[in-house]
Symmetry: C2
Subunit: 193 residues, 2 copies
Amino acid sequence: MSQQRVTYTPESLLRVAVELFNERGYDGASMGQLAEAAGITKSSIYHHVRGKEDMLRLALERATGVLFALLDEPDATTGRAIDRLRYVVWRATEVLIEELPYVTLLLRARGNTETERWALDRRRELDHRVADLVARAAAEGDLRADIEPRLAARLLFGLVNSVSEWYRPGRSGAGPRQVGEAVAAVAFDGLTA
Amino acid sequence: MSQQRVTYTPESLLRVAVELFNERGYDGASMGQLAEAAGITKSSIYHHVRGKEDMLRLALERATGVLFALLDEPDATTGRAIDRLRYVVWRATEVLIEELPYVTLLLRARGNTETERWALDRRRELDHRVADLVARAAAEGDLRADIEPRLAARLLFGLVNSVSEWYRPGRSGAGPRQVGEAVAAVAFDGLTA
DNA sequence: CACCATAGACCGAACGTTCGGTCGGGCGCT
DNA sequence: AGCGCCCGACCGAACGTTCGGTCTATGGTG
């Protein structure tokens, strides 16, 4: 059987790029390294994509898209605040895992480029919406009163987002659902027996 | 009163450097930007430090030093595992805040340089020691049985480490001790009222 | 079926810019 | 005079990107 020439699409090349950006950091990753990882030359890359920052933009748009979408899901918008919050925590963990490379890149954005600054603005928007939900749950008396809702919101999303730093598909033992459930369990009920 | 010429020491210059490295990422930060932030020229910097990677090394050595030191404190080495673990979680959060710029840089290290690879090795060592303690607490029946100790360890330090992403001295409302206590409280008892 | 034109995917070389760092020196203080 | 701290000019290497091309596959035409 003849060995066919592997060709890239913008999407498949983006996938390779995002893996490299996560491995080395966007600024630490060069187009030369991407060419090497993809097995084509630097100039070939420009046949498929407009440029380095454009790949970053596409990736960050995808990550923010899925995260905002989850906030509009029915179980995130109807019911008691504490139930909605539990759903958001569990579901955000699942979405983070499903789109791990893209969400990881978003969480690591620093602000050195226009694209990153846009993404950071979007993240702040997300954080505000979740913080509002936490404040609601606290107001309804379902959160412990000795921790300020703002602090609680930060710890919650710190916990969720930290999954991106260690979760590896196929290598973390637990699946997305299991990790999502564990994150929600620890967040609301803690680790003590 | 005459305006005296501000001069740097290696340590005060390192402090400026670490702030910049955290703001833009180590790879995204240039020596030109450091010169600008410090108010001196690039060549002046080399009078005080050996080079860019050397500043990174000094910072990461400092961060790993304080984190390993806390694991050797009496309250972290004697007593029931669950009590030692509570102390470590609370104390690690405090230390992270006290040495925020240095620990933040450590947590963001990627592995692009020899120095970063060394630091990542040290972090893995730290993670192993804490994971051992979590396993001990689980074996003593003090942790919930439905979450694997390895997963519990990752979530624990995910929570602690995430503080570096939002805590800002003087701007987060709560002090190091309060945040440390909140982290430990949420980690072991959860957010639910 | 053979030939040709076209398009898609690719490449080597080069560009302008930025990078970390060095060199040779000046200034102010003791 | 000597030293510490500073600086302008410059360096070689690496960066992201562009330019002008080649190669291969495909479809149309005779």
